[in-house]
């Protein structure tokens, strides 16, 4: 196989290795979906083809070896490899077709929105309860009585009643939960509970009680205060 093909093969290999194994290990990153890796590889391949075919000479140098390989014209020791490719490609297409058409047998994919948008009347509300040590302490007391069975005495979502519920109760110590939300959002979620979620929140699965039927608003605001203080988090603000 000619020299012109070695460079593109190395580039594609390095690109795949970087996307698959290097990027996920960069702090703050995550494993890339296979569809995104494929997209990047296609873009890389497109770039290589454009680069290698800008002139007639480079085009011949690029395509010529591949044409020789496929036709089997003077490829010497690569002949068994060529037969392998010619057998492997139809089998690969057949296998992928089977995977794409065979009944999956898997339950429907569920894509629940964890923090759906609140109704307009629950945006931008300020906590009307003064932030005093007494009120925070009272809020923690209400939290212990009403919330901790699921959300946990340590505010970590691991209360004794949590294990059977799917979705699991929120972990308030996790910086991606209440730390990303305003107090008015929590007020909405606590008041309306699971049944108050919009459809993208899959309300039929949530065990969160509709506390507006049992607790006065003042208690709910105090609970919010106690949650933030107990979980060592601060509400999101706009400044």
């Amino acid at each position: 196989m000619g020299h012109s093909l070695i460079r593109p093969i190395i580039i594609m290999g390095v690109m795949y290795a970087v996307l698959k194994f290097v990027l996920p290990n960069i702090p703050g990153s995550a494993a890339l979906p296979s569809s995104l890796i494929l997209l990047y590889l296609l873009l890389t391949l497109s770039g290589i083809i454009i680069f290698e075919t800008v002139s007639a000479e480079s085009k011949d140098a690029f395509w010529g070896p591949m044409q020789k390989f496929l036709t089997g014209d003077n490829i010497g020791g690569l002949r068994p490899f060529r037969y392998g490719i010619l057998i492997f490609f139809p089998l690969l297409v057949g296998w992928q077709t089977y995977n794409a058409t065979a009944p999956s047998g898997q339950p429907p994919a569920e894509s629940r929105v964890i923090h759906p948008a609140p109704p307009g009347e629950y945006t931008g509300l300020a906590n009307p309860v003064p932030r005093t040590p007494e009120n925070i302490m009272q809020g923690k007391g209400f939290y212990a009585a009403f919330c901790s069975p699921c959300h946990g005495a340590n505010f970590d979502g691991k209360g004794p009643a949590a294990r059977g519920y799917n979705p699991p109760p929120a972990n308030f110590a996790d910086p991606t939960t209440i730390a990303m939300l305003q107090e008015s959002y929590l007020f909405w979620r606590i008041k309306k509970g699971g049944v108050g979620l919009p459809i993208e929140g899959m309300p039929w699965k949530s065990a969160m009680p509709r506390w507006e039927l049992e607790l006065p608003d003042e208690w709910i605001w105090k609970i919010i205060m106690g949650e933030y203080d107990g979980a060592h988090q601060s509400p999101r603000t706009w400044e």
Partner: protein, 277 residues
């Protein structure tokens, strides 16, 4: 070598490679999120509808679901006996049977268990299909068994306070207690004449399923500890009656492989014609 001809040929080749690559990528991206489900295997013999200890149950794959104290609505409970429920299911194309198994240290007359299903296409809240504020929900079908009656009760609900037995009773149930463990069999025909009230099973389709268990133990004053809404509950999971084997995927795969082989043949032939030209 003619650059124009070569370019056209390689354009076709690259298209082929891209199509194959897209097929590979598309299939890799098409996998569904895995969820916990109980699957009823299709059996050819009689279903063990009245025998929780039948050998046939050994052929059914067990699914284990965690249970929680019911804390969603009053009256709540903070602690329950049953922590996990093992569920198996079988069907024969006309009937479906479920086997519920769980540990219970004591055998009590008020020990009870229930299976809940969504009915129809509308989603129903797992708590008796109670109304949702922003979503138009549907009803639930509940199959209930209690030790002292040792029979199935077929029920319907759409919200708290609406639970009622059907005028038609299609569900059978039988429980047996041994070695600190309850085994309860529920059964019913796959379909009924009341699709608005009953869960209907179509093999191959997933249905939402949930469970509840009451330990009939009593406290020091003789009062039941787990009763009514004070029970162990599960979230919604999935149930599917497995369809008969479908071999069409092999046919499609064979056709695709033959087409790919033909594509290779034509491509190489054209390339060789180009070389000799």
């Amino acid at each position: 070598m003619n650059p124009v001809k070569l370019s056209a040929r390689w354009s076709a080749y690259v298209k082929g490679v891209l199509i194959a690559t897209l097929i590979v990528g598309g299939a890799a991206d098409g996998s569904a999120q895995e969820s916990v489900a109980v699957r009823a295997s299709l059996v050819s013999g009689a279903l063990p509808v009245d025998d929780p200890n039948a050998a046939a149950w050994n052929s059914a794959a067990p699914a284990v679901f965690p249970m929680s104290p019911q804390v969603h609505w009053p009256d709540r409970i903070q602690e329950v006996t049953v922590q996990d429920l093992t569920v198996r299911a079988l069907h024969d194309g006309t009937q479906v049977a479920f086997l519920l198994e769980y540990d219970d240290p004591t055998q009590d007359p008020d020990d009870a268990a229930a299976i809940e299903f969504m009915v129809g296409d509308k989603k129903a809240h797992f708590a008796h299909g109670q109304p949702m504020l922003l979503v138009d929900g549907g009803p639930v079908n509940i199959w209930f068994w209690k030790h002292k009656d040792n029979k199935g009760v077929d029920m319907w609900a759409k919200g708290f306070g609406t639970l009622r037995p059907h005028s038609h009773q299609d569900v059978t149930a039988k429980g047996e207690y041994a070695n600190g463990k309850w085994r309860i069999v529920f059964s019913r025909s796959l379909v009924t004449e009341h699709p608005d009230e009953d869960m209907q099973v179509t093999p191959g389709q997933f249905i939402n399923i949930a469970f509840a268990v009451w330990d009939g133990r009593k406290d020091a004053t003789g009062q039941l500890i787990e009763k009514g809404s004070q029970k162990a509950v599960s979230s919604w999971w999935y149930f599917r009656a497995e369809p008969p084997p479908d071999y069409s995927g092999y046919l499609y795969a064979g056709v695709a492989a033959v087409l790919a082989l033909g594509f290779q043949f034509v491509l190489i032939r054209k390339l060789k014609e180009g070389q000799s030209a």
